[in-house]
Subunit: 386 residues, 2 copies
């Protein structure tokens, strides 16, 4: 596979964007990415779109040509990828693979979701479609409940505490407050985090990511052409997509995600680096416990030590392994289908040194981990500066 | 790109399958394809799934790992592709591209849809999500209405008649009656077809494809490994996916599908063949007019002459260009997400000489054309005998 680079990025703000519909958000992100790469729509050879549940949230399906047409790219292969909350991570994986294989030179990968036009119960029902409707969901589980079970088991097995979960929330809220594009720019204290409204014990409102609208897009090119468009191309060093059973009860150990471990192993091998080489990471903190589990699955810390690791401050912007400097899904927001490509954008912003007061000092190699459902899809990407 | 072969096929019956859910259908098709290729699930390296609207029809989303897990393939990259009625055609295109690029050797491509558990008005609403909700659908158009406009314009511009449309219905019903896996095995006469219950003038119930449940799957391998699994591998000679605007009012000429013409041109070029070399074709007859338009867009006959061509008998099993020997979407059934891969299975059955009383005498090269919406996605595939 020839090396591939990200040569342009673009994002809408994440939030409750009452004035924007699913198409206008995706178009805004796409146009920003085109402008960033100094490209015209007609130069794009294929369009990869991640979207989880546009048809359920807003009724519109067939979204890839719908958005490609609005962007002035009608004609190109335009395809929607759905892999729950890893939808645009999956689109990105397939696009990188295609450019790497020499099928195309210039492609756009987008991600979009419009969620806030639905009521919370309806959002919960639509999100539950990423679980097993015939099993866990029929039995009454929602996603907060599934991750609450994961948290409980992690607490039982490794002594993880509510304070350790809360440390993730406090950090990510702090980071989000410094991100002008974040959904929630609200610093919270440890005391607040520990006294949040219960959602599914032991998870409180501060342990749960946000229901957001938003879109993100990136442009890919072969590395040897990146210099034609930018002096700040970021190379895809390693990438992998894997799967696992959808239902939580089908897994041997719910304190880890097999799919994440497998994807990380492949991505590290492809990149020729290990966990120690990662300068910063955007992890899929749909719930605070998910960030803790991911930091273990990715080898940033030992199994069972993700909680103390978070509490130690190691994952803060000035720590040894900054995690979610964007604010993460917790504070930046989680427009499901946009999250995977949004993470790539956030890594690129850091690798380019454009993160302002959130900037990490040494930002040469970044890792993004995008999770679908309770671990049935995982995409791990490792990006390096040019 | 290295040559790719279809080494295994499997299909459920198409119909109102009250006893099967979306997962059990997909598993049945996948297991049949594995058995046909004499493969174990663990040998499959990636799973590509086409599904249009599982979340809307039955609530279940994240379908690719859901089905991969049930098939015993948990772990592989498992991805759902959505491109309206061309969803599994698109999955097939991406899978062929990946095997062709050397990413994988053995992959499964599936397609599935469970539609009959919903009422007709709800099905119509869900299908409308493949059109432009903010435009044509808001203005009251359903898919029968959109294709009725196409038919009207074709009649006006080229003198196409109701009898010509009916000829497509009569032929496809006749073929479907000979297909043991077809949804509708009912021969109809020209008189019946002309006197069908009106749906959207000039289209009657006999001009519209069926609302069906069903699944289909194929296994791909590099051509140079096909002999390890089968003596009847079929080579993918050419394939292309293209797009166009979603809304009908955004097109210059609604009597043709630009996306189909562009995909056909690419696929013919890749295969090194032309329309005259195609021995038989499975075309996307979601409505009878769509088969007529496709026969023109693919160059089987001149622009505007698709109607007389159908009426002449040229497209019957014993004609010069047999079209939809399976019965087509009209009689075989149209479980939307399964249709693209189902067409591939039907071509393979013919190329292998296994079509029984529907068998075409010379079946060396077959073409499948899969359409999304009113032409916003097109996938054209050309298959050859080994």
């Amino acid at each position: 596979m020839r090396p591939v680079a990200v040569i342009g990025i673009g994002k809408t703000n994440f939030g409750a964007l009452a004035d924007q519909d699913i198409r206008s958000m995706a178009v805004e992100a796409g146009q920003k990415a085109l402008a960033d790469a100094k490209l015209e729509p007609k130069q794009i050879e294929a369009f990869y779109l991640g979207n989880f549940a546009g048809p359920s949230f807003v009724g519109q399906n067939h979204l890839a040509p719908y958005i490609a047409g609005a962007l002035g790219m009608a004609g190109v292969p335009a395809t929607r990828f759905e892999a729950a909350c890893a939808s645009s991570g999956s689109a990105f994986f397939h696009a990188v693979s295609a450019v790497g294989a020499g099928m195309y030179d210039l492609v756009m990968v987008g991600g979009v979701e419009k969620m806030t036009s639905q009521t919370t119960p309806k959002v919960t029902e639509i999100l539950a479609g990423a679980g097993d409707l015939c099993g866990e969901v029929k039995a009454g589980a929602t996603f907060p409940a599934l991750f609450a079970m994961i948290a409980r088991r992690h607490m039982h097995q490794y002594g993880t505490t509510r304070e350790m979960l809360a440390a993730v929330a406090v950090k990510n809220h702090g980071n989000g407050a410094k991100n002008p594009q974040a959904h929630m720019k609200k610093v919270i204290t440890m005391e607040q985090a520990l006294n949040g409204k219960p959602i599914a014990e032991p998870l409180t409102v501060f342990d749960c990511s946000l229901v957001s609208d938003g879109a993100a897009a990136v442009i890919l090119a072969p590395l040897d052409r990146a210099h034609e468009f930018t002096s700040q191309g970021c190379r895809v060093l390693g990438i992998a997509q894997t799967s696992d059973q959808v239902a939580l009860d089908q897994k041997d150990d719910i304190t880890e995600f097999r799919a994440v471990k497998a994807a990380a192993e492949k991505a590290y091998r492809m990149a020729g680096v290990g966990p120690k080489d990662i300068d910063l990471a955007e992890l899929h903190d749909c719930f605070t416990i998910a960030e803790i589990v991911a930091s273990e699955d990715l080898g940033f810390t030992k199994k069972g030590e993700g909680g103390p690791y978070a509490l130690s401050g190691a994952t803060c912007i000035n720590g040894e392994k900054p995690i979610n400097t964007s604010g993460g899904l917790k504070a930046k927001g989680h427009p499901v289908g946009a999250t995977g490509v949004g993470q790539i954008c956030d890594l690129v912003i850091q690798l380019r040194g454009q993160a302002g007061e959130r900037q990490v000092k040494k930002a040469d190699i970044g890792l993004a981990q995008n999770l679908g459902g309770s671990g049935a899809t995982a995409v791990v990407t490792i990006l390096g500066r040019n």
